[in-house]
């Protein structure tokens, strides 16, 4: 086989020897690449390892006074640790917190205890290290390494033991046992997966449902007061939630979908497609970002941009909250509003599409909502 390959006597394309001791290669071996050296005649060997350099004694090894000094330094550090322990315990009892707590006391307690524990630990640590570095023997010692893998004989013995064991079990000779065992083991985790089913309900389209529907009145978030249109100045912003949201059984779950932002524009600034759902320049949009669900709570009055502080998706209120920058793909859904007989702002309908971040079935839910309305 080897006669057909020039530098390779293996019958696969894998190389046999790969690392070249510098200088031992015959000229011409380096056939590819920009060899950054000029070619050389072969030379016998590399440099030789000169072995460990001679040991250099430390001050404390040769000078008794220096050793004594190091000893005192180590002892001082350990003593410092004792001081730290005392400080910690004193600090604990000297600064009680329960009766009257003000920020200053908490801060003082934190600093006293923290500094005390620091001294306790740091003293021990630096003392031990200083001891090791100055006084413990610093002669470098040598351990020999042994090959991790066993020799051919050990490997053969191990293989023998294993195959004998497998042979003794009879698993190779009795395929019926083997196959049913494999099947049983493969199926055994299934109950563990199935049992997790009751960790939560199925989605059932609830992600598309919010508390908003026709005639739901708008109240301020979080105080819950009803809103009259004339109370909102032009350029004003009000954080809004549906009336009665506190009574719902999963208050925060509902709020995570129903939070709305009310903005009053000049009436002629409202985007044409948003006009129908607006009242006297007041527009209402879902406050839940269509990217990952953070509240889009930052409103820039001069540009009429809404900015999500999590990932900076930017929505232009003048363009019906279209995305003008950032990772979001969809505009914020509009909540259609009007005023009721008492002059309070009220939703004329729910959202026309699911609010918040996308999910796999969102298009299906949207189609269903469109059909229902």
């Amino acid at each position: 086989m080897s006669d057909v390959h020039d530098n390779d006597n293996d019958d696969t394309a894998r190389p046999v020897s790969t690392v070249r001791d510098s200088g031992t290669d015959a000229p011409g071996t380096t056939r590819t690449g920009t060899d950054l050296q000029t070619r050389r005649a072969p030379v016998p060997d590399r440099f030789e390892d000169p072995g460990l350099p001679p040991h250099r004694p430390r001050m404390a090894d040769t000078d008794v006074a220096a050793a004594k000094r190091a000893e005192r330094q180590v002892a001082f550090l350990f003593f410092l640790s004792i001081v730290g322990t005392v400080l910690t315990i004193v600090g604990y009892f000297a600064v009680p917190l329960r009766d009257e707590t003000d920020a200053g006391r908490v801060l003082l307690s934190n600093i006293l205890l923290g500094t005390g524990i620091f001294l306790t630990l740091f003293g021990i640590g630096t003392g031990a290290v200083h001891w090791a570095k100055t006084l413990m023997p610093d002669h470098e010692e040598i351990d020999e390494r042994h090959q991790i893998e066993g020799g051919p004989q050990e490997q053969a013995e191990a293989v023998g033991i294993l195959s004998n064991g497998i042979e003794d079990s009879g698993i190779g000779r009795r395929p019926l046992i083997r196959n049913t065992l494999v099947g049983a083991l493969a199926l055994a985790p299934l109950p563990a997966v199935v049992l997790l089913k009751d960790t939560g309900p199925n989605p059932e389209g609830v992600l598309a449902e919010t508390l908003w529907q026709a005639d739901t009145r708008l109240v301020t978030d979080p105080t819950g007061t009803l809103i009259r249109a004339e109370e909102i100045p032009i350029g004003g912003v009000v954080h809004v939630q549906p009336e009665g949201i506190e009574e719902s059984s999963h208050f925060l779950d509902e709020k995570a979908k129903a939070a709305v932002l009310l903005i009053r524009l000049e009436p002629d600034e409202v985007a044409p497609e948003a006009l129908a759902g607006s009242f006297a320049g007041i527009v209402a949009y879902s406050k839940i970002c269509t990217h990952m669900g953070c509240p889009v709570a930052l409103y820039e009055q001069t540009t009429h941009h809404l900015l999500c502080p999590c990932h900076q998706s930017t929505f232009d209120v003048l363009q019906n909250c279209k995305v003008i920058f950032g990772p979001s793909d969809r505009p914020l859904p509009q909540l259609p509003i009007d005023v009721d007989g008492d002059g309070y702002l009220v939703a004329t309908d729910g959202f026309a599409e699911p609010v918040g971040p996308s999910y796999w079935e969102r298009e299906q839910d949207l189609r269903r909502m469109t059909e229902e309305s």
């Binding site: 707590t101 740091f122 796999w360």
Partner: protein, 568 residues
């Protein structure tokens, strides 16, 4: 007590120590363990302390975490706050937040333990990553340590998950916003995402189930996995014996350093106390995660400049840089590419490459020997370049995670920063690769230069003919060895794809991949100096004379011309 008294034998059966030792040995067989391990040699280098910091900060988290569990209540049931923190008086907060604020303000040392726990967690992840970088750049992942590299990579990933779980527990406004984002990532998973979300949260977001579940994961499940993996990690370190940096007397077949007892125990044990002490000091003076100031979680309000813990920053930055049009419709279903690419595909791909790296490099070197001597990073220019390339990408993403902070601090437009990083994420990493590789090659050339021509001494001589020379002192054998000891890899030539009869060879495709990869790695290289090179360099006439003689008079009269034109 003079010469007449025989010294008491140290192992006298009467001594208490001997009795204790005998007790332990007869029940645990300790004498064999002590004999085999007590004088085990550990090599010394500052970069080996990075792994120690990782381990120690994990232990600190365990210790302080136990204290926190004594006070924390893993429940999001809403209660009226009546503790000592005035601004929240009478407000509805979850028990989780109330108990966190209680332990901060009304338990002595509670705030300190919380802050030590949080700082230690940040240090833990940071030390993990820096330790990993050290292992990568020095080639410590090579055979026989590939599996330990894999264990380490898994630990690094789990560290990020564990950290995220931990800072989500107080149920404050910031952590709740973080969970909102995690929920959206789950929702973005195709096909089963919505179901997984409903099972994980026990319904809709935020629900009441998630915090208690996360608590179990944070304090029980993940720590147990951590302990098992760390035990395996350390066991393999002992089994393989620690790697060491190259130098005189340090070979691939030995370990040079200090014995476990007493030196290494004192140093490494002492270092645990130092790490713990320093983190305690930081926690004493530097506030972290003041949850009371953020207030209870509510899906409606949010603060500008919301930032996760630092190790989540790169994922957050990746999410921020994605354009919205990556969200597409697939047969009537929504595929949120803008979220998936950044939060699932990109980290998944990088992790896979990270775990596979030892085998990728082995394909390029074709080298399956055991390696116990570390590489100096310059001696593996391509690997070092790849590492810096990855770090550059990581840092760009991380920077984009703070694009809002950067915009405010530097008075720049956030849109410009994001767009810039959107381009730089493709351009900068390859550039970093090229520059790093060139720097490595340059450093290698400088090493060659130093070996061949010695070290500049600053002693300048003028010859009779007016020529000025600087004396170069030859390197000592010890100094030189460090610069010339490394292996010299050349591109592999796995042989032609077809044999002499035109028949396709087995493994030819792999051979081709291997050839290309190997060329990519080793085509550009600077080879270590050989004795022949040195001899050739020394035969440049007067140069030698000056190197060899301290007395400049000895070279008087020689031409010295060769020196000035040195390499001509």
């Amino acid at each position: 007590m003079s010469a007449t008294t025989a010294p008491a034998p140290r192992s006298a059966p009467q001594s208490t120590a001997a009795k204790l030792g005998g007790f332990a040995d007869s029940r645990l067989g300790l004498s064999g363990v002590v004999r085999a391990n007590a004088r085990k040699i550990f090599p010394d280098h500052w970069s080996f302390m990075l792994g120690e910091i990782t381990l120690y900060s994990f232990v600190i988290c365990l210790i302080t975490g136990v204290f926190l569990t004594f006070f924390y209540v893993p429940s999001v049931a809403l209660i009226e706050y009546s503790g000592s923190y005035e601004p929240l008086q009478g407000k509805l907060v979850s028990e989780a937040l109330a108990s966190t604020i209680f332990m901060s303000f009304e338990v002595r040392g509670g705030l300190l333990m919380r802050q030590i726990h949080h700082w230690a967690a940040l240090v833990f992840v940071a030390a993990t990553i820096v330790h990993m970088a050290r292992v990568f750049f020095t080639g410590a992942f090579r055979r026989p340590r590939e599996l330990n590299w894999v264990i380490g990579a898994i630990l690094a990933l789990l560290a990020i998950v564990e950290g995220f779980a931990g800072y989500s527990l107080p149920d404050d406004l910031l952590s709740g916003t973080g969970l909102r984002i995690a929920a959206a990532i789950i929702l973005a998973i195709p096909l089963i995402g919505t179901y997984i979300h409903f099972f994980a949260f026990g319904g809709e977001f935020p629900g009441e189930a998630f915090i208690p579940r996360l608590y179990t994961i944070h304090v029980l499940l993940l720590p147990a996995i951590f302990l098992a993996l760390i035990a395996a990690h350390l066991f393999l370190v002992v089994l393989h014996k620690h790697t060491q940096y190259p130098g005189p007397g340090r070979t691939n077949n030995n370990v040079v350093g200090y014995p476990l007892l007493p030196t290494y125990i004192a140093k490494a044990g002492g270092f645990f106390f130092i790490v713990f002490g320093v983190i305690a000091l930081i926690a004493a003076f530097v506030q972290i995660n003041p949850v009371w100031a953020y207030g209870p979680y509510d899906p409606s309000p949010v603060t500008a400049g919301s930032q996760p813990d630092w190790y989540m920053g790169w994922l957050d930055g990746a999410v921020r840089v994605m354009p919205g049009w990556l969200e597409v419709n697939v047969f009537g279903y929504v595929l949120s590419g803008n979220i998936l690419l950044a939060a699932v595909v990109m980290p998944g791909l990088l992790t896979t490459l990270l775990i596979a790296y030892p085998w990728i490099e082995r394909l390029a070197t074709g080298d399956s020997r055991e390696h116990h001597l570390l590489d100096r990073p310059r001696n593996a220019p391509t690997r070092t370049g790849i590492g810096v390339m990855a770090l550059t990408f990581y840092c760009l993403m991380w920077a984009n995670g703070g694009n809002d902070i950067i915009a405010i601090q530097l008075n720049l437009a956030i849109n410009d920063i994001t767009r810039f990083i959107g381009v730089a994420m493709f351009v900068a990493p390859p550039l970093a690769f090229l520059i790093t590789k060139r720097i490595c090659l340059g450093l290698q050339r400088r090493d060659r230069e130093r070996v061949l021509h010695g070290v500049e001494t600053g002693q300048v001589y003028r010859l009779d003919n007016g020529e000025v020379l600087e004396r170069h002192a030859p390197m000592s054998d010890y100094d030189r060895w460090t610069l010339v000891q490394h292996d010299n890899y050349v591109p592999l030539e796995p042989g032609p794809a077809t044999d002499a009869n035109g028949v396709k060879r087995k493994g030819a495709l792999l051979g081709n991949v291997q050839r290309r990869l190997s060329r990519f790695y080793f085509e550009d290289r600077v080879e270590p100096v050989t004795p022949t090179d040195l001899a050739a360099a020394h035969s440049h006439g007067a140069h030698d004379a000056i190197e060899g003689h301290d007395d400049p008079a000895a070279v008087e009269g020689s031409t010295g011309r060769e020196v000035g034109s040195g390499q001509a």
